[in-house]
């Protein structure tokens, strides 16, 4: 066992080597790793044939047993395993990528044995990531914060896709713990903020890809290129294969849910999304893609009506997540600083009004947003915090919101209630 009150990265241990001779070596050393051979995770089989179920169970029990062993290791041995056992990180990553999520298409119910081992692994994977996100386990067991930051970054113990996966897999009931984990990771290793900055354009690219697949124009240079006369027409949501439409909706549902889960759990990331123009790109994407996809789901002929119903629910869920994400971004980047009375309140108020004004042409988005988060409430908050706010401008904005409701032919829920 390594000695106490010294950070793990500075500890030396004396133990007998393979020849039986005693030797002293750093507590974090590849020779101290156990050859455990973690196997990668495989999801439960979809068709549930006995042979496949048996194979799943066998794999899963190895993983459950190995993670249980890992979590019971002393602090120094645990970190030797994390840093030097490639098979461990692969096993954990395979779970993040392949584990079934609450939002996945409904499959056959799991047998009790499968459900049981799945639950065991689910918890063990979370606890392993929790331990890996903790640089100070106790007074005696800790790693120098800067070294911890280097270890987790250089060994890809955490990366941005993994953090997003953690949020969407575990965030529903463990948001507070996850918040602490992610906050600690970003605090000890600020390079993750740079990685996040690098990731946001790829996230935006995902939305552009969906637009392109639907034959819709997207922002950027390629969209502006004139189409050649003999060029084949891009399929639309109405004309593409049903499988492709289903894939697009699943992709959108996963993307919007993942982004929302991440920003909800770690609001400090809002500024990175904000700085890449997410607050203008998301509403314009919504306005362009949502009506076309909704129409395709409603109008196209589905042999399997349950698939149609499911795609509609996913589309509607995606809309909710896009609206909620916009609200989260507005709240954390503009409203929150105003409510906290930070410096430059006027600038934040100006920015908020600017965003609301930019939403006015996106009628469908604006109405859905206003339905969930009444813009009049935010304006009212703004007026209370900054009484000098330009009344003509806020009036124009509120009238714009009303006209969007009229233009889309929808009525506010409370209006419906009053008229009935």
């Amino acid at each position: 066992m390594a000695c106490a009150r010294v950070p793990l990265d500075e500890q030396q241990v004396t133990e007998s080597g393979s020849s039986g001779k005693e030797r002293t070596l750093p507590a974090l050393h590849p020779d101290r790793k156990e050859e455990r051979c973690f196997v990668p995770y495989k999801p439960p089989p979809e068709d549930g044939s006995p042979a496949e179920v048996e194979e799943f169970l066998e794999h899963a029990r190895f993983i459950a047993e190995d993670l249980e062993w890992l979590l019971a290791l002393p602090h120094d041995k645990f970190w030797c395993q994390v840093v030097f056992d490639e098979s461990l990180l692969r096993c954990l990553d395979s779970y993040l990528q392949l584990a079934p999520r609450g939002l996945d298409l409904g499959t056959l119910p799991l047998s009790p044995a499968v459900a049981d081992v799945q639950r065991t692994i689910h918890k063990a994977v979370f606890l392993t990531f929790l331990r890996m996100a903790t640089h100070k386990e106790s007074k005696e067991h800790f790693i120098t914060p800067a070294v911890f930051g280097e270890i987790i970054y250089n060994n890809f113990v955490f990366d941005i896709p993994k953090i997003l996966d953690l949020c969407v897999l575990f965030g529903k009931g463990n948001s507070q713990l996850l918040h602490k984990m992610i906050e600690n990771i970003f605090t000890q290793q600020p390079a993750y903020y740079s990685d996040l900055e690098e990731t946001v354009p790829t996230v935006l690219q995902v939305f552009d890809t969906i637009l392109k697949k639907c034959g819709l124009q997207c922002e950027g240079a390629t969209a502006m290129e004139p189409m050649k006369l003999n060029e084949q027409k891009q399929p639309t949501a109405m004309s593409m294969k049903l499988e492709e439409l289903a894939d697009l909706v699943l992709y959108l549902c996963d993307s919007t849910s993942t982004i929302h889960a991440f920003l909800d759990i770690f609001p400090a990331a809002c500024s990175s999304f904000h700085s890449h123009g997410f607050l203008s790109r998301l509403p314009s994407f919504y306005e362009a893609a949502v009506p076309d996809l909704e129409k395709a789901i409603r109008k196209r002929s589905f042999d399997d009506k349950s698939l149609q119903e499911d795609l509609w629910k996913r589309m509607s869920h995606s809309c909710r997540k896009m609206v909620e994400t916009t609200h989260l971004l507005l709240h954390h980047t503009c409203l929150q600083p105003i409510l906290e009375g930070r410096e430059n309140m006027q600038t934040f108020a100006e920015e908020l009004l600017q965003y609301f004004t930019s939403f006015l042409p996106e009628k469908r988005f604006l109405v859905d947003y206003d339905d969930e988060f009444p813009i009049s409430d935010d304006i009212s908050l703004l007026q209370q915090a900054l009484p000098v706010i330009d009344e003509t401008r806020t009036l124009y904005l509120l009238q714009g919101v009303e006209s969007a409701w009229d233009a889309t032919g929808r009525r506010r829920p409370q209006t419906e209630g009053a008229s009935s």
Binding site: L98, K172, S316
Partner: protein, 198 residues
């Protein structure tokens, strides 16, 4: 097949993660089982210790009978682990079988699962034979003596183990579910996109 995911796109198209195929196996189940057998063999209990334990403090006739049973157990272990394996692997399997069946009177689901997990598919007759054999071996011994013997051997290996991390964490199994704004039937959305004049 896994559905399309945002994080899949980020792994493929951004430079912030290590590029790996999650389905690529560094170790297959066969390699894993062999590793598991190796680890089991290092846990302290050996075939020699079992032979000694079963023979000590017994008269010659009983020692002779125990010796026969131990041979039968080795033979059953050979059938389970495969004849192509060396004596060391076979003895390790025999230790495992002894430990598995020392307090069992029949081969149940748990025991079958444990043997398969360790050695892969195996003939059930060999498992039946080893169960009966172990029962006869431990029958003349005092209650609890066998368990104490195994516990003593194992505790030498387990001295390093700490208490499990996170046992007091209040973990929630809740998963995000679909949260649609409206059902398909309930939607009163206009079919066509609304064109607006400014």
């Amino acid at each position: 097949m896994s559905p399309p995911r945002l994080t899949g796109a980020l792994r493929s198209f951004s430079n912030v993660s290590k590029r790996e195929d999650p389905t690529e196996q560094l170790y297959d189940l066969k390699a894993k089982r062999i590793k598991r057998q190796e680890l089991f063999a290092r846990e302290g209990l050996t075939w020699q210790k079992i032979v000694h334990f079963c023979s000590e403090h017994q008269d010659k006739a009983k020692q002779q009978a125990a010796s026969e049973e131990l041979k039968t157990l080795i033979q059953a272990a050979k059938e389970i682990v495969g004849a192509e394996h060396g004596q060391e692997a076979i003895e390790c399997a025999a230790v495992f079988l002894f430990e598995t069946f020392q307090n069992k009177d029949h081969v149940g689901t748990e025991e079958t699962r444990a043997i398969k997990q360790m050695f892969g598919p195996f003939p059930s007759s060999a498992a039946e034979a080893s169960c009966a054999c172990v029962a006869r071996l431990v029958a003349p011994l005092d209650d609890g003596k066998v368990e104490d013997f195994i516990k003593t051997q194992r505790s030498r290996y387990h001295y390093q183990r700490g208490s499990t991390f996170g046992r007091n964490v209040n973990f929630s199994y809740d998963l995000y579910k679909l949260d649609p704004l409206e059902d398909l039937q309930g939607s009163d959305l206009d079919d066509e996109r609304v064109d607006v004049d400014f």
